[in-house]
Structures are given as structure tokens and as C-alpha cells.
């Protein structure tokens, strides 16, 4: 495109500035985890690994991590089933009401989390009389995770079309055989990307979680509990640094196994 050199320079400089804006806070978090000062005065007076050692032995953080992982895996697995079913039905079958169904699937992620949180809190706790637990968190998370699987699978189904499925049927494959050998391999990347996104969404969720967790602590809830406690600050800094660095992993997986469309 023939945009003027001046504009190109402006857009390039703007891009650099935005990237600095995006990364400086993250670098600061990582740097802070080595800051020897307990109050994290800036610039750091010295660097230490003490906080990393303390964090490694913090049982609260490990328990919360475990709970988060359980919720994330369960919610992602349920969302994979539900989202894939919905994507197939809407993309491959002449069902009625595609627009309102898509809308319903999208709603839980579009509307503010606090609304969903209070609604589910009231339903689970006050109306059904359940004890809030990991189970209620899983139910809540699955609800807003369905949409990411749905979007990924639907996009893939739209792109691949039905030619191969028809060819498989014409060659005498049963419905199951076609799914096992043709449809599933086509979908694998989209399912991986969708499942990963759902897990990440669940892993990071705090608002809906706070209203549905009761006394259960997921990692975000545990961090939030300890955020304002001065003597926990060093451990929080390390956990924050770890989460920042670990964020690279899904990006790497998505680059390697996902497709460009996702």
C-alpha cells in the first residue's frame, strides 16, 4: 500500500510506544519479584532470590493452584463437549433459531461478569440451597467457556466444508468411522485452541468465581485475598512473576499447533 513515508513512520513509532505500554508493567512485575526491599521501593536497592524460595513453600498458593487446575480442566472439558455439539448443530444441520441460539451462547461472556456472578450465587445458594464449592465454580465457568470452543469449532467447520465427509460416506464408512478418521482430524487444531482458550479463561476468572466459590480458593481468589497484606507482598510478587512468564506457554502452543485463523 502506498501510504506516505511520514505516516508509516508515525504508525511504526506508535506501535513501538504501545508495545512499551503493554510490556513495561509485565517486566516490572518480574523485576519486583527479585527486589530485596520488603516495600518494593523503586529503584530496587538489591536483588534476592529469597522470595522465590518462600513462595515455593507456600502451601496456600499450591492448594489454590490445584483448585484452579481442577476447575479449568473440568470447565474446559465440559465446554469442549457442549461447544462442539452446538457448533455442529448450527453449522451442519438445518435447525431452527440459529440467531437466538448463537446469541444465547455468546451472552455469558458479553454481559458483565458481576451480573452472572450474582445471578448464579442467588440461584445456587439462596434458591437451590447448595453449598458453594468447586462444583458450583465449575458449573459457572463452563457456562462462559462454551462460547470460545463454539467459535473455534464453528470457524473450522465453516472453512472445511462437507466434501470429505460425503466422500467418506460414499466410500462406505459408517458415521463413526467418518468421525474418527475424517472429521475429528480436521477439527483437532480448533479443539485444541478452543480448549486451551477455555482453560485460560477459567484459570484467570475472578468475578464470577468470587460469587460461586464459597470458601474454596482458586489462584486468582488467593492472590486477591493476599494482595493487600503487606507481609504477603513478596510471595504475591513471585506468584505474579511466575504467572507472567508462564503466559508465554499457551502462545507458543497456539503458534505451533493451532491454526492462523483462531
Amino acid at each position: 500500500m502506498r501510504l506516505s513515508a511520514g505516516f508509516r513512520r508515525f504508525a511504526g513509532a506508535w506501535t513501538v510506544l504501545v508495545l512499551v505500554f503493554l510490556y513495561v508493567p509485565l517486566l516490572f512485575v518480574v523485576l519486583n519479584s527479585f527486589n530485596s526491599s520488603r516495600t518494593f521501593a523503586f529503584p530496587p536497592t538489591g536483588l534476592t532470590l529469597n522470595w522465590w524460595q518462600a513462595a515455593a513453600h507456600n502451601s496456600g498458593a499450591w492448594h489454590a493452584l490445584g483448585a484452579t487446575a481442577i476447575v479449568g480442566v473440568c470447565a474446559a472439558a465440559l465446554a469442549l463437549v457442549l461447544g462442539t455439539c452446538a457448533a455442529f448443530a448450527l453449522q451442519r444441520y438445518p435447525v431452527w433459531g440459529k440467531q437466538p441460539i448463537s446469541l444465547l451462547i455468546t451472552m455469558p461472556i458479553t454481559l458483565p461478569g458481576i451480573v452472572t456472578g450474582i445471578a448464579m450465587n442467588t440461584t445456587f445458594h439462596s434458591v437451590l440451597g447448595w453449598n458453594l464449592s468447586l462444583l458450583t465454580v465449575i458449573i459457572a465457568h463452563t457456562t462462559f467457556c462454551v462460547v470460545v470452543v463454539f467459535n473455534n469449532v464453528q470457524a473450522r467447520l465453516r472453512r472445511t466444508g462437507t466434501n470429505l465427509q460425503e466422500a467418506s460416506a460414499d466410500l462406505g464408512a459408517s458415521g463413526f468411522q467418518t468421525f474418527r478418521w475424517v472429521t475429528f482430524p480436521q477439527l483437532r487444531g480448533a479443539l485444541l485452541a478452543g480448549g486451551l482458550l477455555a482453560f485460560a479463561l477459567s484459570f484467570d476468572e475472578i468475578v464470577v468465581t468470587e460469587f460461586t466459590a464459597g470458601s474454596t480458593r482458586t489462584l486468582p481468589l488467593w492472590i486477591f485475598d493476599n494482595l493487600f497484606r503487606p507481609n504477603q507482598a513478596p510471595v504475591i510478587n513471585v506468584v505474579a512473576a511466575v504467572l507472567t512468564v508462564v503466559a508465554v506457554v499457551p502462545v507458543w502452543i497456539a503458534q505451533r499447533y493451532g491454526d492462523d485463523e483462531a
Binding site: 506501535t15 512485575v29 458481576i114 460416506a169 484467570d204 503466559a247
Partner: protein, 293 residues
């Protein structure tokens, strides 16, 4: 003519195509059951509970129908002030993110080469995967007394408060704006941009007549996230907002601190209605249809 495939197998294979609508509905059954029961059911409970009241002696929720909660939401000037402030913050965050995102997305889509484009894509997506709390916490640290911004500005950091909330929310949701705007720019072939230049348009004209209308559906799609997420947020506000209250904090306070679930339920219809109005307004501009194509 002899068939290469036994006919009974052919029929078995084709059987899957029979009564396709029925199979579609069977597939829809689990996800729809889940969403209708767990989500719409909860939303219905929320609406109904907004008409309940709290016994002033016992503090227990009593199932006596009253419109008093909605009355309070409409008439209490505190709620009105907070609502206006929250909508202002959400719009401000959306505008800031759009301003930050558009030149960057244009650079990614139309100036950067293929390798640079992938690198930028990774660079923009990675912070999206970083934890929400960590990002808000990072701003708490940056803005802290004796923190880096205080150090750089010689003690004149803006500190915690409303501007800090706007900056933090803009930071949190920025990737949600960049990605759809970038997608909107890439969807249009290079030839269209070339044609604009061939017809004698200057860069400024091309940007105004070609780029701006293209960016708009992307901004609209991104703004659904920046606007809606800002409207319901109360965590970042607690972390960097100082004494500032947004709708989310007020709702949370009514539910948890004041223990008035029905009023919290009535109040939570404010962000719900604002988001729905916003979505309908976007729909009226036609930009959402273009985006979902």
C-alpha cells in the same frame, strides 16, 4: 454398470443424512439444556429476586414482592452518580483503546512485512494470556508511592484514583481492541488500498475514506469487550481506584457488606441494561453484521 462399493454400505453411509434436522436438535439438546438451566435460569432468578425484600429486623431475605428496590435504583442520587461515572469510565476506556489500537493495527496489517506481522501478533497476544490480577497489580506497583512512576516524575505520579482506574482498565482490555481492528483491516484486499492511491488520493484521504470505515466494525467488535468489561469491573477499581466507586463496587457492597441481595440484584440490572442498549446501538449502525460475516 457394476458398483465398486457394495450398495448396502453405501446406504449405511448415507443414512446419516436422513432427517438431518432431528439429528441437529439432538446435538443441540445438551448445550441448550445447560445454557437455559444454568444461565437463563439464573438470570430469571436474579430478576425475580430483585423484587424480594429484606426483613429489617432479622436481615433475612423475605419473598414478599416489592418494587422498592428498583425504586431505590432509580431515585437514589448516589446510584445515579455512580452509574454516570461508570458509563463515563467505560466509554473513556473504549476511546483510549481505539486510539491506541487503530494505528498499531494499521501498521500490522498494511505496513509490516509477513515476519514482522507474526512477531507483532505474538507480541500483542501474549499479554492477553497474562493474569488479569497480575496486570492490575502491576499498575498498583507502578503507581505506588515510591514506585517507578513516582521516581521518574520526581514524586508527581498520579497515584491511585479515577485516572489510575481508567489507565489500568485501558491496559487490561487493549488486546481485545487490537485484535478485531487488525482483523477488520486484513479482511480487505491490498488492491483496494492501491486503487485509492491510483485514483489520486493522498494518504490522508485514503485513511479517511478507506481505512476509517474499515476500522469501524473492528472497533465496534472490540468495544463490546472494552465497554462491557469496564462496566462490570470492581476488582481493578479496588486495586488502583483509591476511594473511587464504580457500579460493580456498589453492587458488591450491597451484596456482601450490606447483605441486601435483592437490592444488589436490582442494581445489577443497571449494567445489564446499559450493555444491552449499547449492543442495540451498535447493531443499528450495522457494524456487527459486517463483523460476524
Amino acid at each position: 454398470m457394476t458398483s465398486l462399493v457394495p450398495t448396502e454400505n453405501l446406504r449405511a453411509g448415507r443414512r446419516s443424512n436422513r432427517r438431518p434436522a432431528l439429528r441437529g436438535y439432538l446435538l443441540l439438546l445438551p448445550p441448550m439444556a445447560w445454557l437455559v438451566i444454568a444461565y437463563l435460569g439464573s438470570m430469571a432468578v436474579l430478576l425475580i429476586s430483585a423484587f424480594w425484600s429484606v426483613d429489617s429486623f432479622t436481615g433475612q431475605v423475605v419473598h414478599v414482592t416489592t418494587t422498592g428496590n428498583f425504586g431505590a435504583v432509580f431515585h437514589d442520587s448516589l446510584f445515579r452518580t455512580v452509574t454516570l461515572r461508570t458509563v463515563g469510565v467505560a466509554l473513556g476506556v473504549t476511546v483510549i483503546d481505539a486510539v491506541l489500537a487503530v494505528p498499531l493495527a494499521l501498521f500490522m496489517a498494511k505496513v509490516a512485512g509477513p515476519t514482522m506481522r507474526i512477531a507483532l501478533m505474538v507480541a500483542v497476544t501474549t499479554p492477553l494470556w497474562a493474569s488479569y490480577l497480575v496486570k492490575a497489580y502491576a499498575w498498583r506497583g507502578l503507581l505506588a508511592p515510591n514506585g517507578p512512576l513516582d521516581w521518574i516524575t520526581g514524586g508527581h505520579s498520579i497515584g491511585y484514583g479515577l485516572p489510575a482506574t481508567v489507565i489500568t482498565l485501558s491496559y487490561l482490555w487493549l488486546p481485545y481492541m487490537i485484535l478485531p481492528v487488525y482483523a477488520a483491516f486484513t479482511r480487505v484486499p491490498h488492491s483496494m488500498w492501491e486503487a485509492s492511491a491510483d485514483l489520486g488520493a493522498t494518504s490522508a484521504t485514503t485513511l479517511r475514506r478507506i481505512a476509517a470505515p474499515l476500522a469501524f466494525p473492528g472497533i465496534a467488535a472490540g468495544s463490546i469487550f472494552t465497554f462491557s468489561l469496564s462496566l462490570g469491573d470492581y476488582i481493578a477499581v479496588q486495586i488502583v481506584g483509591g476511594k473511587t466507586q464504580l457500579l460493580g463496587n456498589v453492587i458488591y457492597g450491597q451484596l456482601v457488606t450490606a447483605n441486601d441481595q435483592p437490592l444488589a440484584a436490582a442494581l445489577s440490572f443497571v449494567p445489564l441494561v446499559v450493555v444491552l442498549v449499547y449492543l442495540f446501538a451498535l447493531r443499528a449502525t450495522g457494524s456487527l453484521e459486517q463483523e460476524s460475516r
